[in-house]
């Protein structure tokens, strides 16, 4: 372990947020050229993390950070090993290209500055997710990616589809984040550590814990929702409502991989159990097949890619679940390959959309001549996606087949799943890369021509990287694949595969895949029609299920609200007082701890008798009062008598406050009474009076018994001794009560006065609604005139 340059890493973690802050200002000044400056931020991050490459390749783990809340063992700390380093490089590297691409893609958009800002915020959050060592930090960053993704999907917020997709993504991934939080808390409880780097030593403890399954399910809830595993996959295709740079960056290359990252991160401690090795492959395999089948159905370039992203994530989850050495190597290679080719393909799709005016694959053709560079970039990405040499996708696919191949039925089933999935992805890859470019030129909404350099720079660079990474595979393995695979496996591991094919089952499976892919590609139109009619026959899908779930939730909460808030004050009061009485009397009855009858004190002074007499007079006055106002004022007599008692028994502060509270309470109650249009006198039916009386008596008896029980306990003087002793010495005040309020427990008081203020605000607005309902509608420009508003706010 070495702690190299902790300051620099912290600055780098904050850099995207700083860039996000200045992005709108910079964009106002420079227009879309601000992209050049803003891209320096991710570039700097990329270079910073490259600096760790040799260290990590030699098996080093770089940790750093600082204490945050030491008493809760919470720290702001990071962990850089093969896994997080690869992710960080992907995030910052692709991020640099995406920022440049966005500048050209959204050129002239009035909200470009905001867009840059959101993108950079996301980048910072995503970087935080993969770098975090502390659980809390991981969770906060995790939710921050959900929120920034929400902002980006809903970027075009004037369209309803965007807003719906944004909310849907937030609900699914944010909800998963809560599951993750619970899972992390469970893990913390089992092991007692809050840092991933320390957690790695507690694998066996975790696996043998009776709460292992709970922790596993909760963590999987977070991972599966984020990484769009079936049946929670539906939010990802809908997220394609976002501008294409967002789809390329968040929804293919980085954010959706956060779930896979989580699984890989926890593989050494949660993995290697029957549950892990069953759930992950089954869900992953299902997602792989469902995703590719749904992708076949689509004609929109982005949607085709989105569904294959779903299936690729499924493949990654499946491989992570197998947990064998080759499976992890395959997952690692495929993850890198997928980020490169899918990010590239999305950018190509956006480029075509940008230059030709449509993304519908059936309306595109013959663009090869008009957009040669785009064509090259698309082909590079598609070849890698199809798993053909000499791209890194080929290495990944060979490794996948190596990993899966065995002759038992369980493995054979997954081999079949992988072959079908890969074959269909082959089809989609080429459908995106070939269909628009070959064939006769089709008239497109815009006359197509090559886009500006900023647009093709990204996909071309990614394509080249995919090629070079495969050609210099020993180098790639040394710095990327092997360290990452070691981190995922939790033990040193070496990845060795190269572009030179080896004879064996893997190669045969590859050939089978390719043949299957070519046949399917020829039949694409039939397959698409078939899938379309199949889906139409099924009708229902998780996407519609989501809507039903949400509307059901709204109905349920409406029903609950109507039940517990009928809008009648007397019901609220009765329930409240009954609860108070039950809470006071219940425990005493349950434990049989009734207080003893108090002894009548002998030395009662005359003036003390007078005070008691006042109390009783006040009580009778309340009961026999003819109208409400008299009753309220008489209630004040009681309060003043109590204040007198406080005074007599040496609590001047309390008494003082009681006087004032009592006065104000009477004044305010009287004022309220003048506004409520009630009868001056109280005429409840006798039955009602009896019922209310028993509630009142129950409360009174409860309080009396409670106070008696409390005062019969021996009085613990620890606190009063402490405050009497230190009030003058430490806090320079002789009024202990006040010193406690403003000094010893000042932070509590701060909270309390905040409550006082907010309550005041709430009461004020309630009064306003009641009185000036017409005025509200009149002077509020945002509200349409609504004369029937009164019916709502009774």
């Amino acid at each position: 372990m070495s702690a190299a340059a902790p300051g620099a890493t912290f600055i780098v973690l904050m850099l995207p947020f700083l860039a996000a802050m200045i992005a709108p200002w910079l964009t106002r000044r420079l227009g879309h050229n601000a992209a050049w400056l803003l891209a320096l931020a991710p570039l700097a991050i990329f270079i910073h993390f490259l600096g760790f490459a040799t260290d990590v390749a030699d098996g080093g783990i770089v940790t750093g950070g600082f204490q945050w809340v030491p008493s809760y063992n919470v720290s702001f700390s990071w962990l850089i090993d093969g896994l997080s380093l690869t992710f960080a490089l992907l995030i910052s590297g692709i991020g640099t290209l995406i920022i440049l691409y966005s500048g050209a893609y959204l050129m002239g958009n009035a909200q470009l500055g905001r867009f840059f800002s959101f993108m950079l915020l996301f980048m910072g959050a995503m970087l935080g997710v993969v770098i975090s060592d502390s659980f809390l930090m991981l969770f906060v960053y995790w939710e921050l990616t959900s929120i920034t993704s929400f902002l980006l999907i809903g970027f075009d917020h004037t369209r309803e589809a965007s807003r719906r997709a944004a909310v849907q993504a937030l609900v699914v991934t944010g909800g998963g984040g809560l599951a993750l939080l619970a899972g992390l808390l469970v893990i913390w409880n089992i092991t007692g550590v809050t840092q991933i780097s320390l957690l790695l030593n507690y694998g066996d403890e975790l696996r043998n814990s009776p709460f292992y399954l709970l922790a596993l399910f909760l963590v999987l809830g977070g991972a599966f929702s984020k990484s769009a595993q079936f049946p929670l996959h539906f939010w990802l295709p809908n997220a394609m409502e976002a501008p294409t740079p967002v789809s390329a960056y968040l929804h293919s290359a980085t954010m959706v991989k956060a779930g896979v990252y989580l699984l890989m991160r926890f593989n050494p401690v949660l993995g290697d159990t029957v549950w892990w090795e069953t759930i992950l492959p089954v869900f992953g395999g299902t997602t792989l097949i469902v995703g590719t089948l749904l992708a076949i159905r689509q004609t929109d370039l982005k949607l085709m890619l989105a569904y294959t992203t779903v299936s690729s994530l499924g493949l990654l989850v499946m491989l992570t679940g197998f947990g064998s050495e080759h499976a992890i190597a395959a997952a690692v290679l495929y993850l890198v390959a997928h980020s490169l080719f899918k990010g590239g393909l999305f950018m190509v799709a956006g480029l075509i959309d940008h230059e030709a005016g449509t993304r519908d694959v059936t309306k595109l053709g013959g663009l090869r001549k008009a957009m040669p560079i785009t064509f090259v970039a698309a082909m590079a990405a598609a070849i890698s996606m199809a798993g053909l040499p000499p791209f890194i996708g080929f290495l990944a696919k060979e490794e996948i087949y190596y990993a899966l191949w065995a002759t038992d039925p369980w493995s054979l089933a997954f081999v079949a799943v992988a072959v079908v999935g890969n074959g269909l992805m082959f089809v989609i890859g080429f459908a995106v890369a070939i269909k628009p470019f070959f064939g006769p030129a089709v008239k497109t909404p815009k006359p197509a021509h090559e886009g500006p350099a900023l647009l093709w720079l990204g996909p071309l660079t990614l394509g080249l990287t995919a090629l070079v990474a495969a050609l210099v595979s020993p180098f790639t393995h040394r710095f990327i694949s092997s360290p990452m695979a070691s981190a995922v496996a939790g033990a040193a591991e070496e990845v060795t595969i190269s572009v030179i094919p080896h004879m064996g089952p893997a190669l045969i499976l590859s050939i089978v895949t390719i043949i299957f892919g070519i046949i399917a590609y020829r039949m694409l139109d039939h397959l698409r029609a078939g899938m379309a009619s199949l889906l139409a026959a099924i009708g229902w899908g998780p996407d519609r299920g989501f809507d039903q779930f949400i509307s059901g939730l709204v109905r349920l909460s409406g029903g609950i609200t109507r039940f517990i808030q009928p809008g009648r004050l007397d019901i609220y009061m009765t329930v409240t007082f009954l609860m108070i009485a039950a809470a006071l009397i219940g425990p005493m009855a349950w434990y049989g701890e009734w207080p003893a009858m108090p002894v009548w004190p002998e030395d009662v002074q005359f003036h003390e008798f007078v005070v008691f007499a006042i109390v009783i007079i006040g009580l009778l006055a309340v009961i026999y009062a003819r109208d409400r106002l008299t009753a309220i004022v008489s209630l004040g007599i009681q309060g003043f008598a109590v204040a007198l008692i406080f005074m007599l028994f040496g609590a001047p502060d309390l008494s003082f406050t009681q006087f004032m509270v009592e006065t104000l309470a009477v004044v305010i109650l009287a004022l309220v009474m003048t506004r409520l249009k009630l009868h001056a006198s109280d005429h409840r039916p006798t039955a009602q009076k009896l019922a209310d009386m028993s509630v009142a008596i129950a409360c009174g008896v409860g309080f009396t018994l409670y106070l008696m029980a409390v005062t019969q306990q021996p009085f613990n003087t620890a606190l009063s001794d402490f405050f009497s002793a230190y009030s003058k010495v430490v806090a320079h005040g002789t009024n202990v009560v006040n010193v406690i309020i403003v000094d010893f427990r000042g932070t509590d008081t701060l909270g309390e006065i905040a409550v006082v203020m907010v309550t005041g605000l709430a009461i004020l607005s309630l009064i306003r609604i009641r009185t000036s309902r017409v005025k509200v509608a009149d002077n509020d420009p945002d509200l349409p005139p609504a004369p029937d508003q009164t019916a709502e706010v009774r």
Binding site: D653, M660, H732, T749, G760, L761, I767, S772
Partner: protein
């Protein structure tokens, strides 16, 4: 309730009560009193003035919206805690200085600032409720 006597006395009563509330606030650290009780007294003063002479004169007299006073008090209390940052001690540690004003030693503290904040919160919140209840048809 707007009798001539009440209306004539109310301004004096209110001034006295406000004065008294400040007295109670300032002596609170050593004698019975403090920001909370002081705030309640001042709020009742405003309420009495409002009942006697109508709400508009009260609002004119206090100039700011009572809720703004309340919010400023909260801000002041929170900032009183922040002062301790400059002394390098944890949030909300009491800080004391003893300057000599006109030959008299005066004890000033961040705690006092905090208590004044409490006072303002209570005056503002309770006062604005009372005033809002008192006025019938206009804000």
């Amino acid at each position: 309730m707007r009798t001539v006597i009440f209306r004539s006395i109310a301004p004096y009563l209110t001034s006295l009560m406000v004065l008294f509330s400040i007295f109670v606030l300032l002596r609170g650290h050593n004698e019975p009193g403090g920001g909370f009780i002081g705030g309640l007294i001042a709020a009742s003063a405003l309420a009495i003035y409002g009942i006697a002479c109508g709400v508009a004169p009260v609002r004119r007299a206090i100039y700011f919206h009572p809720m703004a006073i309340s919010a400023f008090g909260l801000f002041m209390s929170a900032m009183a805690g922040v002062l301790s940052v400059f002394a390098g001690v944890p949030y909300m540690s009491g800080l004391w200085i003893y300057p000599h004003l006109f030959g008299v030693e005066v004890a000033l503290s961040s705690v006092l600032v905090f208590d004044i904040g409490v006072y303002l919160v209570v005056v503002g919140a309770i006062g604005s409720i009372a005033l809002a209840l008192e006025e019938r048809d206009r804000d």
